[in-house]
């Protein structure tokens, strides 16, 4: 009797983790490349959702067009943040606190603009939130579950391939390792930042598409969703994209399974508990016992490089 329940919770929790993984990758990528705790991502997620919502429900264009326009608008917003916000702060040599405040205020501003434009009624991307379901070995599997897992898996593979084999991806890693040194080698850190924001826009859009086809969204919803991304990034360790994604999956599963030992109404508490424990005990991220990160090879000095 218990096994099917555990299996169902695992499956649904795993499928629901999809959008958390996408948000976490977007957040962790900016942390890694731009060295910025980008709370403006909540604003990007809001822009992504409401752009797709507008295209689907008001313009009545097909879903693929809505997604592409959503990515374009979100990426444009990200680039504007980089061009007119972050670069200005860098020029002024602003403190980390100022960057933090800027990104936080940007998200709040976007939430209020979206409230003004779209009202504050909860809305979904499509009129129906039901997804066809099939029972496989006693487990209810919806089309949404399969779509979410497929989209997220494909996105993770794509970003891995991009970072490993595409020269722009390798530039991102170089800038992430040492921005100044990368520039000495002719790699534009500014360009790397823009590419990182563009990729984050794609992931934010995918995540909000999945979320908005399953649950109702308010202009302030992305702020709540960001908590997962922040904890995932902290738990995975700074700069470890795929560890952060794995942490998001673990968090989603822990939250889902927590209902077996605590009342459903306290599920939200689990996240804050995690956040507290991670900050206090694992400020550099959690690593499995016996797991040792590859020792980073010291970057050559410019003089060595010239030789």
């Amino acid at each position: 009797m218990m096994l099917p329940i555990l299996a169902q919770i695992f499956w649904t929790g795993f499928a629901n983790a999809a959008y958390y993984v996408l948000f976490t990758i977007a957040f962790a990528l900016i942390v890694k490349v731009v060295q910025l705790w980008n709370f403006a991502q909540a604003g990007m997620m809001g822009i992504a959702f409401y752009t797709m919502y507008t295209v689907i429900n008001f313009l009545e264009w097909p879903t693929w067009a809505a997604f592409l326009i959503g990515v374009a608008v979100t990426a444009a917003a990200g680039l504007l943040v980089e061009f007119y916000g972050l670069r200005t702060l860098r020029r002024r040599r602003s403190s980390n606190l100022m960057f933090f405040i800027f990104t936080l205020i940007f998200s709040e501003l976007i939430a209020y603009v979206l409230m003004f434009l779209f009202g504050t009624e909860p809305v979904t991307l499509f009129p129906s939130i039901l997804s066809p379901v099939r029972i496989i070995h006693g487990i209810a599997v919806t089309d949404w579950d399969l779509t979410a897992i497929a989209v997220t898996s494909a996105s993770l593979i794509a970003v891995w391939l991009f970072l490993q084999f595409h020269h722009e991806g390798q530039f991102l890693l170089a800038v992430a390792d040492n921005g100044r040194l990368a520039e000495l080698y002719g790699i534009s850190a500014q360009r790397a930042y823009l590419v990182a924001f563009a990729i984050a826009a794609v992931f934010s859009c995918e995540g909000m598409y999945l979320f908005g086809t399953r649950a109702a969204v308010l202009p302030t919803t992305p702020n709540d969703l960001m908590l997962f991304a922040v904890i995932g990034t902290l738990l995975g360790g700074m700069g470890r994209l795929f560890a952060a994604a794995a942490a998001a999956v673990v968090l989603a599963l822990v939250q889902s399974y927590s209902v077996l030992v605590i009342a459903s109404k306290w599920q939200g508490l689990v996240l804050y508990g995690f956040l507290f424990v991670v900050i206090v005990l694992f400020p550099r991220g959690f690593r499995l016992p016996g797991f040792r990160a590859r020792r980073a090879i010291p970057a050559p000095t410019p003089a060595q490089a010239k030789v």
Binding site: M1, I5, Q8, I9, T12, G13, N16, Y112, V113, M115, F116, G119, T120, E121, P122, T124, P127, S128, I129, L130, S131, V133, I135, A140, T142, F211, R214, A215, A216, L218, D224, S256, Y257, S258, V259, L260, A263, S264, K265, W266, Q267, G268
Partner: protein
């Protein structure tokens, strides 16, 4: 007064001004030169409950316009002043302070249990009559001398529903899923207690977080308990999600809810999965009262749709009629307009014959009794199921 949210504040002010403007510009010439009789409304125009709140304000506005079109109260027009509460207690207190301190209204319509409870001390302190119209918590009846309800409290419709489920549908085991807030806690408890007292058994009693979007774990617990019926005491955003996930997990039990579930959007979101869903309504339908049919037609004509939460809008439409009766009573008895005299008028008049919800009797214990109308979803629409006196 500031809530540190200027954009929201500006929007609320704009909306309130627009509403008030519309109400006053529609006055007939005969009444324009006489002093206006003010009435306050504190409802959510923004926030997650704005879907209902804005429609309720519109209904009250129509009520005031219709009274004014017929000459107002002894030739004096009503002027409705609206403040946004966002269905948030603190914002509700700000709204009350503004309506009482700045707009000088003697009576305020307010809804949402948590807001009614938060604003009750303000109404009592400033001796202003607060009429709760839509809040279902039974605590509303115990909030002081200046807080009355015109809307039957949770124990009325949820009690009737639990009795119907046990006596008429013959269900003996049930589950209660409720949102972890004031109205959820209260309504869930009432359903559980009544159903249990009748001899039924509540096999699962689960609360969920208001921000939750995944209900799988909770629903699996309920699935194991295998109840014959499931009662959801939730809100407009979460109730469809709970039902959708329930159906996707293969749970086919009939679902009941209270008046918050009476929402056409829910049928759109759930499609065939909504069939058989039972909700309560504390207001008569088009078949019970011809004014309601005309009211719905008016919505379709002017707004192109049915109202969200039709029964609530019916009660709000009647609000200016209650106020106009009390204003007429004050004039007849040569009493000055004040919150204290408004309260006296309400208690003295006690029985009101209202166009949209019929007869209203205000009990000395601050409650009202009304028939409960049950509706169910059939062929993609809400249809009458039973009326319980």
């Amino acid at each position: 007064m500031s809530d540190n949210r200027p954009a929201s504040l500006r929007r609320r002010t704009l909306l309130a001004t627009a509403m008030a403007g519309v109400a006053s510009t529609s006055l007939p010439a005969i009444a324009q030169d006489k002093p206006k009789l003010r009435l306050g409304v504190a409802l959510p125009l923004t926030g997650s409950q704005a879907l209902f709140g804005t429609d309720q304000v519109r209904a009250a506005q129509w009520g005031a316009e219709d009274i004014n079109r017929k000459g107002g109260v002894n030739g004096q027009p009503l002027e409705m002043i609206v403040q946004d509460t966002q269905a948030d207690p603190q914002t509700g207190i700000n709204a009350f302070n503004h309506l009482i301190g700045v707009d000088k209204v003697p009576v305020i319509a307010v809804a949402w249990s948590s807001v009614v409870q938060a604003t009750a001390p303000v109404a009592t302190r400033d001796t202003t009559l607060a009429l709760s119209i839509g809040a279902s918590s039974t605590k509303v009846a115990h909030l002081g001398d200046y807080v009355y309800t015109t809307y039957p409290l949770a124990n009325v419709d949820v009690t009737a529903l639990a009795k119907y489920v046990y006596n008429t549908l013959g269900k003996r085991t049930g589950a209660v899923l409720y949102i972890n807030n004031e109205s959820g806690l209260e309504g869930g408890r009432v359903f559980r207690d009544v159903f249990t007292q009748l001899g039924g058994k509540i096999v699962a009693y689960e609360a969920y977080d208001p921000t939750a979007t995944d209900f799988t774990g909770m629903l699996l617990k309920v699935r194991v308990a295998d109840p014959e019926i499931i009662h959801i005491q939730g809100l407009t955003a979460d109730t469809p999600q709970v039902i959708a996930q329930m159906r996707q997990l293969g749970m086919q039990q009939r679902v009941t809810s209270y008046s918050a579930g009476y929402n056409p959007q829910l049928i759109k979101q759930l499609g065939a999965a909504a069939e058989g869903f039972i909700v309560t309504s504390l207001a008569p339908g088009p078949g019970d009262n011809p004014n309601v049919a005309a009211f719905i037609e008016r919505w379709k004509k002017e707004m192109g749709r049915a109202p969200n939460g039709l029964p609530y809008t019916q009660y709000l439409y009647d609000y200016p009629y209650i106020v106009s009766s009390i204003y007429a009573w004050l004039a007849k008895n040569n009493l000055p307009v004040s919150g204290e005299n408004f309260r006296k008028g309400l208690v003295e008049i006690r029985e009101f014959d209202l166009p949209m919800t019929g007869k209203l009797v205000v009990n000395p214990d601050h409650t009202v009794d009304k028939p409960v109308y049950l509706l169910t979803v059939k062929d993609g629409a809400f249809v009458p199921l039973a009326t319980i006196s």
